[in-house]
């Protein structure tokens, strides 16, 4: 009984929803419109389920941070974790305070000057700084990895270089740079990308079919 409720019924539920989706792809629209209606409704319902579950993640996030504080009772940890909790409280206060108001839409908080201040100055700059760090990291990789050591790294270096030169205004004045870059982008890259996408789709497709017939282990044996 326990196995039926805990394992078999969820798998059955998965298969029913999955098969209805597959059926809609082929027989929805004008043939059996109810299937399309079902899919439309189910799509939004699944979104609502996912949105509602957002708190689960937050609970996990808070509890692991709290655990860190309890394990490392030193001022540095208090400052680090404290800054996270404080930030959460500040944003929650702004959100509740600015949720809506006379003449404003519900959810106005995200457009309010207070929320925007944190978004545009704190979050946005942290994110841009990480992208900038990504560039510096990549400079390290350019120097370390892009060497003509093997067939693969040679192709990688030459193709990458062709595209970089083509993207830099200064080098476009050199004859041939633009044409070589265009060719690399338009022929070998397109072919490679096309095949990689195609094979990955086939792999994804087989996993989907396996899950539909209840033979995908990761969906079966979940505690």
């Amino acid at each position: 009984m326990s196995t039926t409720i805990r394992r078999d019924l969820p798998i059955l539920l998965l298969a029913i929803v999955g098969f209805l989706y597959v059926a809609e792809w082929f027989f929805g629209g004008n043939v059996i419109p109810q299937l399309s209606t079902f899919k439309g409704l189910m799509g939004t319902m699944v979104s609502v389920i996912a949105w509602t579950a957002v708190g689960v993640g937050t609970i996990y996030g808070i509890s692991s941070e709290y655990y860190l504080v309890r394990r490392n009772r030193n001022w540095q940890q208090y400052v680090t974790s404290g800054s996270m909790f404080l930030m959460m409280i500040i944003m929650a206060i702004i959100w509740i305070w600015q949720w809506s108001g006379p003449g404003r839409a519900v959810g106005y908080a995200f457009q309010s000057p207070e929320w925007r201040w944190w978004l545009m100055n704190v979050y946005s700059n942290q994110t841009q700084a990480q992208y900038a760090i990504m560039f510096l990291y990549q400079c390290g990789a350019v120097y370390r990895v892009l060497r003509v050591r093997s067939m693969e790294t040679t192709v990688f270096t030459l193709a990458g270089l062709a595209f970089i030169l083509k993207s830099i205004p200064l080098f476009l004045t050199v004859p041939g740079v633009s044409e070589i870059g265009d060719w690399v982008q338009g022929a070998p890259t397109l072919g490679g990308t096309r095949a990689a996408t195609l094979t990955a789709s086939l792999g994804a497709l087989v996993i989907g079919l396996r899950a539909l017939v209840g033979k995908e282990q990761t969906t079966i044996e979940v505690k």
Partner: protein
Amino acid sequence: MLNTALVEQFLRTGRVMDILFLIFVWLFVIYYITKAGRGAQLPKIRRIAAIDAIREGVGRAVEIRKPVHWSFGNAGAYVTDQNVSETLAGLGVMSYTVGLCARLGARFIFHMPGNPEAIPILEGTVLEAYSKEGKLEEFDRRRDLRYYGSGMMVFTAALAQSFMTEGVAMKIMMGRQPTCMYVALEAAKLQGAIVIGGTARWTAMYSFVLTCDYLFIGEEVFAAGAYVTGNPYMISSLASEEMAKYACIGILALGIVLSLANINFAALMKN
């Protein structure tokens, strides 16, 4: 060539080729799964170096007493759309890794992606793997599961911080990734970790090529997911993937022949 009006009474417009191809693949999936059920010999799968490297990495983690870190990217565990397969394949490899960590005594830290709806299956897989090794008590959710929301660069910064403060012996990253996960991979590399990973999202593949010691390239992600489970049904169904690839090459050849014979291949495929 086809009686479109007749077909459209039973099938949506432009779905004939889709259904034919799907039936073709499906038949092979069922054939190989049935064959595996009968205990027939499993197809031989070529070695994927990254899988062997995981064992090596866990061994190293035990030796140098630093943790193994796993992540799916900032929001890489999609379950409600077409990226679900990548999540499932990643979970297969994760289950294998957690099992090794539990058996050999390495600490496993899981930086969960910002898809809250996937948490049950993510945590469930970790629990399952510990439980299979009979070491469920060694898993502490508050210590080893992390959550930072789905902000891309917030996630990379949080990972980098974790690598620096807690150390990292091996970093594995699978699932659907954005390209900026490069920062997290490189941060692990700079901390001296063995870095393993791959994605079927082609745009992000370069991050792995530049940083990883061992790679899963594109579709290898899916093959690896089946291979590590040792499950005969899953391994045997890999052969159906190969059949689909032969079919694709066959369709390409057929297209060339038909086009040479002045038959409009593109119009035929539109059905």
